[in-house]
């Protein structure tokens, strides 16, 4: 199938991010073994990188890993399944606050709180996903946004448990702390491993039956149901898995920050950033969210240092340009170039033009 046929030219299928057939020709780069080998190599290099950075850079790179993990987790529901979840930050905040509350009030070790937070995030997603995953498109997007905002308000209004709007501090003083603070290097490792786990989940999912099922749902849900995919179960699993990973990262983030505030842990901009990263990198692929997250997080940090006044302005300009020139995402642009030898960015612009 050629690329000209794939875009949604009829304007009807608004939710087909990556309308290519699942058996699109594979370049040698995407063959599974090479992919895993490169991934492992990247992981090793990332560990090695730690020795080459000074403290400030370690924090920056840690943040980049966090976004790699978040973008990959969002990609499970948003990219593979094609459900535009705009409440992802709700699971992030839920994970963070679960960990904070458990460690502060329950004296639970961080290593127990992390999986508990992930489990709670997944369970909560399954609970709200049951009714909400019946909605489609914009309706699902707004409903999940509402869930995240609602969660934030609940957290603000439970001051005995969560400290309310004033925030909550996880005890880190020696002797009182359930788990000593991990230090910059420790969190570097932690976020790196979490990000690697998220990417690995996507890497497995893109090759197995369940993953094909999700992508079938993305392209045509009725057809997917007709060929025997249990649509509700598959969507719930993807949603819960995505939420659990996000909650785990939120949990680690809360411990890293020590003091957390609802405004920060439920910041809508975080959700939008995840979406931006996935779409710019290439939704529905393994490497796309990684590329997008690294590029955006790095560009954001670089601009912040060069243009302290206008960095957000420049970031906005960058996003607008990227969306216009590369609407299918970097990963799919490269794929198209390799397959068809057409490099022109103007072709991209023509693709979705009215």
């Amino acid at each position: 199938m050629s690329v000209q046929q794939t875009p949604a030219a009829d304007g009807g299928s608004h939710f087909v991010v990556n309308a290519r057939p699942a058996d699109a020709p594979r370049s040698s780069l995407s063959s599974p073994l090479v992919g895993w080998a490169l991934g492992g190599l990247a992981l090793l290099l990332a560990f090695g990188l730690l020795t080459q950075l000074y403290t400030g850079q370690v924090r920056t790179v840690t943040t980049i890993y966090m976004f790699v993990g978040l973008a990959s987790a969002w990609n499970l529901i948003g990219g593979f399944t094609g459900y535009a979840c705009f409440g992802q930050v709700g699971f992030f905040g839920l994970g963070g606050y679960t960990t904070a509350v458990l460690m502060t009030h329950g004296g639970v070790s961080f290593w127990l709180a992390l999986p508990l937070s992930a489990a709670l995030g997944g369970a909560f997603a399954a609970l709200v996903g049951w009714p909400l995953l019946r909605l489609k498109g914009h309706y699902f997007a707004v409903a999940t946004l509402g869930v995240a905002e609602g969660l934030r308000e609940v957290v603000i209004n439970l001051p005995e448990l969560t400290g309310g709007g004033g925030g909550i501090s996880i005890p880190t003083a020696v002797g009182k702390a359930p788990t000593p603070w991990l230090g910059n290097d420790g969190f570097y490792m932690l976020f790196l491993l979490l990000a690697a786990a998220c990417v690995a989940v996507a890497g497995v999912l893109i090759r197995v039956r369940a993953g094909y099922g999700l992508r079938a749902i993305h392209q045509d849900e009725d057809a997917a149901a007709a060929i025997g995919i249990h649509v509700t179960r598959a969507k719930l699993a993807a949603f819960a898995g995505s939420a659990a990973l996000t909650a785990a990262i939120g949990s680690a983030y809360a411990f890293q920050q020590v003091t957390i505030f609802p405004e920060r842990l439920f910041d809508v901009h975080l959700t939008v950033l995840m979406v931006v990263m996935v779409v710019i990198g290439g939704a529905g692929s393994v490497i796309g969210p990684v590329v997008g997250a690294v590029a955006i997080a790095f560009a954001s940090e670089w601009l912040r240092q060069r243009l302290p006044q206008g960095h957000a302005f420049a970031l906005g300009l960058l996003i607008v340009l990227a969306v216009i020139l590369m609407p299918q995402g970097f990963r799919h642009y490269v794929g198209d170039v390799l397959r068809e030898r057409r490099f022109s960015l103007l072709d991209n612009v023509r693709r979705y033009r009215l």
Partner: protein, 279 residues
């Protein structure tokens, strides 16, 4: 007044399927424009609604024609990202030009209250804003029901292919719609400046608000959006007194989610666009 913001948002959503994240930024642009006019020419902010609306209409028309039309056939994420990028551009542009300070447009009468029997006080400014909002929405309803342009917008929203076959230029109509929405936002922004304070950081709040109001009223249903906006305003005002803290927001979002799950066509009830919204 909040209803007016939501009406434009709902319009863009209904006709073009675009979640316009930059909507709040347009409101602020309108507010700052009215503020500038007030500072330099002493123009009354409620009169300033007209130039603010016109300027924003021009800006919106240009944006849609030159930029958003390029990706309008793309999936939801793409248009959403584009408007998010625009929002970043506009809001941070405003911060660069006007700084992040809170501003307000002072008028001699807005703070005075009309005292009704039963010790009810209605500030003139808010009363005027509400009357204007309802008037503009009624005018909009007339335009959509009676004029060729309005009908063309509706037709394009219902079925773009068929509308083009009828000789309607979809590019022009889309730009017109977006311009209209931006113009409404700008006019509402001028009114916001008159009755309360504003700063560039408020953009997100306005966008979120119009989101919720548009959903409550039914997507793409303009009078429903006005209703949703009024309802939301009332609930926030009264609930704020009855419930502790900001718990009312949690209730509002809870209602939103339930409404979506049970009755996606909105409280106003007419399944106007909802019947065809998504495949």
């Amino acid at each position: 007044m909040f209803g007016l913001i939501a009406v434009g948002f709902s319009l863009v959503w209904g006709v073009m399927h675009i979640v316009n994240l930059s909507h709040g930024a347009f409101v602020l642009l309108g507010a700052y424009l009215a503020w500038q006019l007030n500072v330099y020419f002493g123009l009354d902010p409620f009169l300033g609604m007209l130039p603010a609306g016109l300027a924003l209409f021009a800006l919106g028309y240009g944006l849609q024609r030159g930029l958003i039309n390029l990706v309008v056939n793309a999936p939801i994420f793409i248009t959403l990202l584009l408007t998010f990028g625009l929002e970043l551009l506009l809001v941070n542009g405003l911060i660069l030009v006007f700084t992040a300070d809170y501003r307000a447009i002072p008028t001699s009468y807005a703070a005075h209250s009309l005292i009704l029997p039963g010790d009810v006080r209605v500030p003139f400014g808010r009363l005027l804003a509400a009357v204007l909002a309802i008037g503009v929405t009624a005018l909009l309803g007339y335009v959509f029901k009676r004029t060729r342009t309005g009908l063309a917008i509706l037709a394009t929203g219902m079925d773009r292919g068929a509308a083009r076959l009828m000789g309607i230029s979809a590019r022009h109509v889309y730009a017109l719609t977006y311009g209209l929405a931006a113009g409404l936002a700008g006019a509402a922004g001028a009114a916001v400046g008159a009755v309360s304070t504003f700063s560039p950081a408020d953009a997100g709040r306005f966008t979120l608000f119009s989101f919720v109001a548009a959903v409550l009223g039914g997507l793409g249903n303009t009078s429903g959006a006005l209703l949703g906006g009024l309802l939301l305003g009332l609930v926030e005002a009264w609930g704020g007194q009855l419930l502790p803290g900001t718990l009312i927001n949690a209730v509002a979002f809870g209602v939103l989610v339930v409404v979506l799950a049970v009755r996606p066509q909105g409280l106003a009830g007419k399944a106007f666009y909802a019947s065809r919204v998504e495949v």
